[in-house]
C-alpha cells in the first residue's frame, strides 16, 4: 500500500538497463549481517479508508479547545482564522514546494516571503525581518546568541516573568555558546524592577531581554528598559506578542535592536503547540549577523524585478561551522499563513483583533474584580492576559469550570510558586463573547470562593 508507481514490468526493465538480474545486487554495499532480519514489526498496512477511520477515531478522542470556551493562552491562543488563510495554504504550489533554491521557478514562494518580511518589519517597526524561525523560544535563543556575537560579551539578562517553557529552551541552547543567563525578577506590580535592571546591567551584559507583554500579561516600561540597556552598551531584545503591536508601541519605537516573537496568533491553528512561527526582526546594521533565510528583491538579466534568497554566506549550507546558525528548514508555510492573515484582515481588521482582545479581557477582569475569593494581584496594566488568584487550588477551580464548559486558564503555581497555588493565567481573545465572560464570572463566583 505504498505510493510507489513502478510496476513489476518497469522494475524488470530497469534492472536490465542497470545490467543486473535482481534487486539484491544493489544492496551489495550493505553487508548481509547489517541488514534487518525478518522485516519490520509494524502494524499491517492500511487502505486510505482505514487510515481515515483510524486517525478520525484518534481525533475523536480529543476535545479541542477551539471548539470550547477557552481562556488558555500562555503562548498559544485560540483566535479566529479567516477562510482565505486556509485557502492559500491548501494550494499545493505552496505546500508541496521546496526551499526556493531555484529562484526562477520559485518566485511565488520568494515574493510571499518578501512580503512576509515586510509585514513583520512594519508590525515591529524594525528595519528588516528574516524568513522565519521554528518558534518564539528558538528565535529568542538565536537572538541571544546573535547579540552575544555582536557584542562579544557573554551575559544576558532575562526576565523571570517569562514563559517557563521558553526559559527551558534557552537553558538548553545557550551553554553551547558559553552564555550566562541572569534573572531579572519582577517587582510588586509584576513588571521589571528598573533598579535591578540597571544594577545587573552595569556588570557588562551583552543584552537585556524584554518580554512585552511579559508572561503575566503585563506591560513593561519598554522605553526605560531600552535606555538603561543602551546606556550600558547592551542590546535590547524584545520578545513581543504580535497582536499586541496593533495597540502597543512596537520594538522599533523604543529602539530595540532585535525583536522576536511567536507568530501563532497570526492565522496558525493551535495544533497542540506546533507548528509555530518564530519571527525575528532587527536593525539593518545587524542583518549580516542574523540567523535564518532572507529574501531580497533584485533584477533579472532583462531588468525585471524578482526575488532571491540573499546573504547566504551567513547560512550553514555555505558557511558550515562558521554560519550564524544551524537553521535550514524553517517555518515557511507558517510565515505564509501569517502574511495571508495580516493581509486578509488588513489594517482595520487587525487593529480590531487587538482591540477586541484588549477590551474583552479587561471586561472580564472588571467582572472578576470584587468577587469574593478572587484576587487580581497585578492590576489593569495588561494587554489581554492576566493573573487571577482564586482561594482554592487552581486545579480544583479549573475542573469545576470545565464542567461548565470553560477552559478557565493555565495554572501558574508549579512554575511560579511565589504566586501561590491558586494562581491562574487567563487569556481572552476576540473569539470570546460577553455571554462567555459572564459564564466565567458566574463560575468564579461559585467556585473561586472555595464553595
Amino acid at each position: 500500500m505504498s505510493y510507489v508507481q513502478n510496476t513489476e514490468r518497469d522494475r524488470k526493465e530497469m534492472l536490465e538497463t542497470i545490467g543486473i538480474s535482481s534487486f539484491a545486487a544493489l544492496l551489495d554495499p550493505v553487508s548481509p549481517e547489517l541488514r534487518v532480519q525478518g522485516g519490520l514489526k509494524l502494524e499491517e498496512p492500511m487502505s486510505e479508508a482505514e487510515v481515515v477511520e483510524h486517525l478520525g477515531s484518534l481525533a475523536g478522542k480529543n476535545r479541542p479547545a477551539s471548539a470550547r470556551i477557552s481562556f488558555l493562552g500562555g503562548g498559544i491562543y485560540d483566535r479566529y482564522i479567516p477562510a482565505p488563510v486556509r485557502y492559500v495554504l491548501s494550494r499545493s504550489e505552496f505546500y508541496t514546494s521546496y526551499t526556493p533554491y531555484q529562484a526562477e521557478v520559485s518566485q511565488g514562494t520568494l515574493q510571499a516571503i518578501y512580503e512576509y518580511q515586510t509585514l513583520i518589519s512594519r508590525l515591529t517597526a524594525m528595519d528588516s525581518a528574516n524568513a522565519s524561525m521554528y518558534d518564539a523560544s528558538t528565535a529568542l535563543a538565536e537572538s541571544i546568541i546573535m547579540a552575544c556575537a555582536i557584542k562579544r560579551r557573554g551575559r544576558v539578562l532575562v526576565p523571570s516573568a517569562l514563559s517557563p517553557r521558553v526559559r527551558a529552551v534557552l537553558d538548553s541552547y545557550v551553554p553551547g555558546k558559553s552564555i550566562q543567563l541572569e534573572d531579572l525578577p519582577w517587582g510588586e506590580d509584576g513588571t521589571l524592577d528598573l533598579e535591578t535592571v540597571e544594577r545587573k546591567l552595569a556588570e557588562d551584559a551583552a543584552a537585556v531581554v524584554l518580554a512585552q507583554p511579559n508572561y503575566l500579561g503585563l506591560i513593561e516600561r519598554a522605553g526605560e528598559v531600552s535606555e538603561l540597556a543602551h546606556a550600558q552598551g547592551a542590546l535590547l531584545i524584545a520578545l513581543v506578542d504580535p497582536v499586541s503591536l496593533a495597540v502597543l508601541a512596537p520594538p522599533g519605537e523604543y529602539d530595540a535592536d532585535i525583536a522576536v516573537g511567536e507568530g501563532q496568533s497570526l492565522g496558525i491553528p493551535q495544533s497542540f503547540g506546533g507548528p509555530l512561527l518564530g519571527f525575528m526582526a532587527t536593525k539593518n546594521q545587524y542583518i549580516r549577523k542574523c540567523p535564518g533565510r532572507l529574501v531580497s528583491a533584485t533584477r533579472d538579466i532583462e531588468g525585471k524585478r524578482g526575488y532571491v534568497m540573499t546573504l547566504q554566506t551567513r547560512e550553514q549550507h555555505i558557511r558550515r561551522e562558521k554560519a550564524t546558525s544551524n537553521i535550514c528548514t524553517n517555518q515557511a508555510l507558517c510565515a505564509l499563513a501569517a502574511a495571508v492573515y495580516l493581509c486578509t484582515l488588513g489594517e482595520d481588521g487587525f487593529r480590531e483583533v487587538a482591540r477586541q482582545s484588549l477590551e474583552k479581557s479587561h471586561t472580564l477582569y472588571r467582572m472578576l474584580s470584587g468577587i469574593p475569593g478572587c484576587s487580581l494581584p497585578f492590576g489593569e496594566n495588561f494587554f489581554s492576559e492576566f493573573v487571577l488568584r482564586v482561594s482554592v487550588p487552581a486545579r480544583r477551580f479549573l475542573d469545576r469550570a470545565k464542567r461548565e464548559g470553560i477552559l478557565a486558564g493555565i495554572s501558574l503555581g508549579q512554575d511560579f510558586p511565589s504566586l501561590g497555588e491558586g494562581a491562574l493565567l487567563v487569556a481572552v481573545t476576540e473569539k470570546r463573547d460577553r455571554a462567555e465572560l459572564e459564564l466565567y464570572r458566574d463560575v468564579a463566583a461559585a467556585a473561586g470562593g472555595g464553595k
Binding site: 510507489v4 554495499p29 550493505v30 547489517l34 522485516g39 502494524e43 499491517e44 487510515v51 481515515v52 475523536g60 478522542k61 480529543n62 477551539s66 499545493s92 504550489e93 526562477e104 518566485q107 511565488g108 514562494t109 512580503e115 515586510t118 512594519r122 518564539a136 523560544s137 528558538t138 553551547g176 503591536l245 502597543l248 508601541a249 493551535q270 495544533s271 503547540g273 506546533g274 507548528p275 528583491a297 533584477r299 532583462e302 524578482g306 540573499t310 550553514q316 558550515r320 561551522e321 554560519a323 544551524n326 537553521i327 535550514c328 528548514t329 507558517c334 493581509c343 488588513g346 481588521g349 487587525f350 487593529r351 482591540r355 477590551e359 474583552k360 489593569e380 470545565k402 477552559l407 465572560l437
Partner: protein
C-alpha cells in the same frame, strides 16, 4: 512581475471577518500605545485570493512534476494526509489542555515514537525538534550532557567532508569543535584515516548514512568499532533514511543517536521551506537524556512525563510540530512494513537506473551501486564554457526542476540527483532524455544553456547585487 500586495492593497476595501465586539470599553488607560503607522495593506478578498493564486502559479511544486533535489527527498505528499491533519480534533488542541482531553493526540505521538523506534532500531525517540538541523542540535546536546555526566571533557566532533552544512553548524552551536574527516577515493570514510583522527578528545562521529554521495559506508562496522573503542558516540544524520527503510536499522548497527526528517522520509510536505520535524532517537543508555516532556503509556492511558533528571531539558516549548506528526503517522500506518521496504527498494532502484543512464553524458566520480541518490559532475562540460549552474537553469526551460547543485562540496561541479521512489520509470526516462539533450546542447549550442532559463516567470536573477545591497522590505516604491 507581480505587483506586491502592498501596491495592490493601497487604500482598498476589505471584507469583515471577526466576531462581533460586544464588550467595548470607553475608558482604558493603557501605557505605551503605538504611535507609528501599522501600514498593513487593505485589499478585497477577491484581489487577495488572486494575488496568492498569481504567486502560486510561479512556483514549481511536487504536484506539477519531478523534483530531483538530492538530499531533499521530494516525494509525493499524499493528499489524504493533508485532510487528516486539518481535522479539528487535532488542529484545535491547546498544548496545556488536560491530558484526559488530548488522549488521541498523545496516542498518536506515542504510536509514532514506537514506530520510529522499530524502523530505526532505537530505544526511544523524542518528537520535539522542529527540523533536521534542530534534531542534530538536540542530538549534540544529548552527547554533551552525556559526557558531562561522565565527567569526560571531550570537545571534538568528527564530521566527514561530505556532510551537510547543518552538521558542522549544529556541532558548533552546541559548543563542540568540528573536525573534518576526508573521504577516500570511493567517497567513503577510510577506517585508517578515522582511526588516526579519533582520540580521547573525540566526543562524536557525526555520520550521514547513506552519505550525501548516496553511498552506503561499506566499512560501517569497522567505523563504529573504532569510535566506540575510543569511548565516543556515533551520531547518524538520518535525513537519508529513505534508502534504509526495512533494510537497515541504524540502532542495530551501532548508531547511538540519530535524527530523522519526517519531511523527507515520511512524506510530509516541505511547505516551501518548512515546517518539518526532526525526531531524535537514541539507544538505551542515552534514553534519559531525551528532552522533556515525553509521552508515556500506562495501562491504555497516555500522559506527558515532565521530569527526567538527566534530560537536556527542552528544545521546543511544547511537543514539536504536531501537525507534521499526523501526516507522518498516517503515512507509516498506510504503508506498514512492506510498504516502507518498497519505498527503500524503489528509491534505490530508481537512483541506480537514473545513474546508469545519466552517467553516459555526465561524469560519474563514484560508480555505484548507489543507494537513493547519486552525484555526477558537470565538469566534462566545462570545455564548452558551461557550468553546472547552466545545466540546472536549462532544465527549468524544459519544465523540470533542477537537481541540487554544488553540493556535496567534494565533487567539482556537482549535480546531486535523488529521484525518490514515487517517480515511475517513464518519468525518469523523460528526465534522462532531457539531461542527454542538454549535454548535447552544451556541445552544440552552449549559449542555450548560458542564457537559460528563457521560459520562466523571470530570467536569471542578479544574486550578487542583492547580496551587495539587500532589499528585504518593501519601502513603497521600486528601487532602481
Amino acid at each position: 512581475m507581480s505587483a506586491t500586495i502592498f501596491e495592490k492593497g493601497k487604500n482598498g476595501k476589505s471584507h469583515s471577518y471577526l466576531p462581533p465586539h460586544d464588550c467595548p470599553l470607553e475608558k482604558l488607560d493603557l501605557p505605551g500605545r503605538r504611535k507609528s503607522a501599522l501600514d498593513l495593506p487593505v485589499i478585497g478578498e477577491q484581489d487577495l485570493i488572486r494575488h496568492y493564486v498569481e504567486l502560486a502559479s510561479k512556483n514549481y511544486h511536487i504536484d506539477k512534476g519531478m523534483y530531483p533535489l538530492g538530499s531533499c527527498t521530494m516525494k509525493y505528499n499524499p493528499v489524504v494526509n493533508e485532510e487528516l491533519a486539518r481535522l479539528e480534533g487535532f488542529n484545535g488542541l491547546h498544548p496545556l489542555q488536560d491530558e484526559e482531553d488530548v488522549q488521541g493526540a498523545l496516542e498518536l505521538m506515542y504510536n509514532l515514537q514506537e514506530a520510529l523506534c522499530e524502523i530505526c532500531g532505537m530505544s526511544a525517540f523524542t518528537l520535539q525538534p522542529a527540523a533536521g538541523a534542530h534534531g542534530e542540535l538536540a542530538g549534540m546536546m544529548i552527547a554533551r550532557d552525556y559526557f558531562r555526566d561522565r565527567r569526560e571533557n571531550r570537545k571534538t566532533v568528527l564530521v566527514p567532508d561530505s556532510a551537510h552544512g547543518t552538521n558542522p553548524a549544529s556541532v558548533v552551536t552546541c559548543g563542540f569543535t568540528p573536525r573534518t574527516v576526508p573521504s577516500n577515493e570511493q567517497g567513503l570514510i577510510d577506517p585508517a584515516v578515522l582511526e588516526r583522527e579519533t582520540g580521547p578528545d573525540t566526543a562524536v562521529l557525526m555520520l550521514t548514512l547513506p552519505n550525501t554521495l548516496g553511498l552506503f559506508e561499506r566499512d560501517i562496522a569497522r567505523v563504529v568499532e573504532i569510535v566506540h573503542r575510543a569511548g565516543a558516540l556515533v551520531y547518524m544524520d538520518g535525513a537519508n533514511m529513505n534508502a534504509l527503510l526495512g533494510i537497515v536499522k541504524p540502532g542495530e548497527i551501532g548508531m547511538d543517536i540519530m535524527h530523522l526528517n519526517l519531511h523527507k522520509t515520511f512524506s510530509t510536505p516541505h511547505g516551501g521551506g518548512g515546517p518539518g520535524a526532526g525526531p531524535v532517537g537514541v539507544r538505551a543508555p542515552l534514553e534519559d537524556y531525551l528532552p522533556v516532556p515525553r509521552v508515556v503509556k500506562e495501562k491504555e492511558r497516555f500522559s506527558l512525563r515532565q521530569r527526567a533528571d538527566k534530560s537536556i531539558g527542552r528544545v521546543h516549548p511544547w511537543y514539536g510540530n504536531f501537525n507534521v506528526f499526523v501526516k507522518a503517522y498516517a503515512y507509516i500506518r498506510t504503508l506498514g512494513a512492506a510498504g516502507l521496504r518498497e519505498v527503500a527498494e524503489n528509491a534505490i532502484l530508481n537512483a541506480n537506473y537514473l545513474m546508469k543512464k545519466i552517467s553516459q553524458w555526465y561524469y560519474l566520480k563514484y560508480p555505484g551501486p548507489c543507494m537513493h541518490e547519486f552525484v555526477v559532475s558537470g565538469k566534462n562540460l566545462k570545455d564548452y564554457g558551461v557550468r553546472t549552474t547552466d545545466v540546472a537553469k536549462r532544465l527549468l526551460d524544459y519544465g523540470l526542476h533542477a537537481p541540487t547543485v554544488y553540493f556535496p562540496l567534494i565533487v567539482e561541479e556537482a549535480l546531486m540527483i535523488e529521484p525518490v521512489e514515487t517517480e515511475k520509470k517513464e518519468t525518469l526516462d523523460r528526465f534522462a532524455a532531457v539531461m542527454e539533450r542538454i549535454a548535447e546542447e552544451a556541445r552544440e549550442n552552449p549559449s542555450l544553456l548560458l542564457e537559460a532559463p528563457l521560459t520562466t516567470p523571470v530570467r536569471r536573477l542578479d544574486e550578487a547585487a542583492a547580496a551587495r545591497s539587500p532589499e528585504l522590505c518593501w519601502s513603497g516604491e521600486e528601487r532602481k
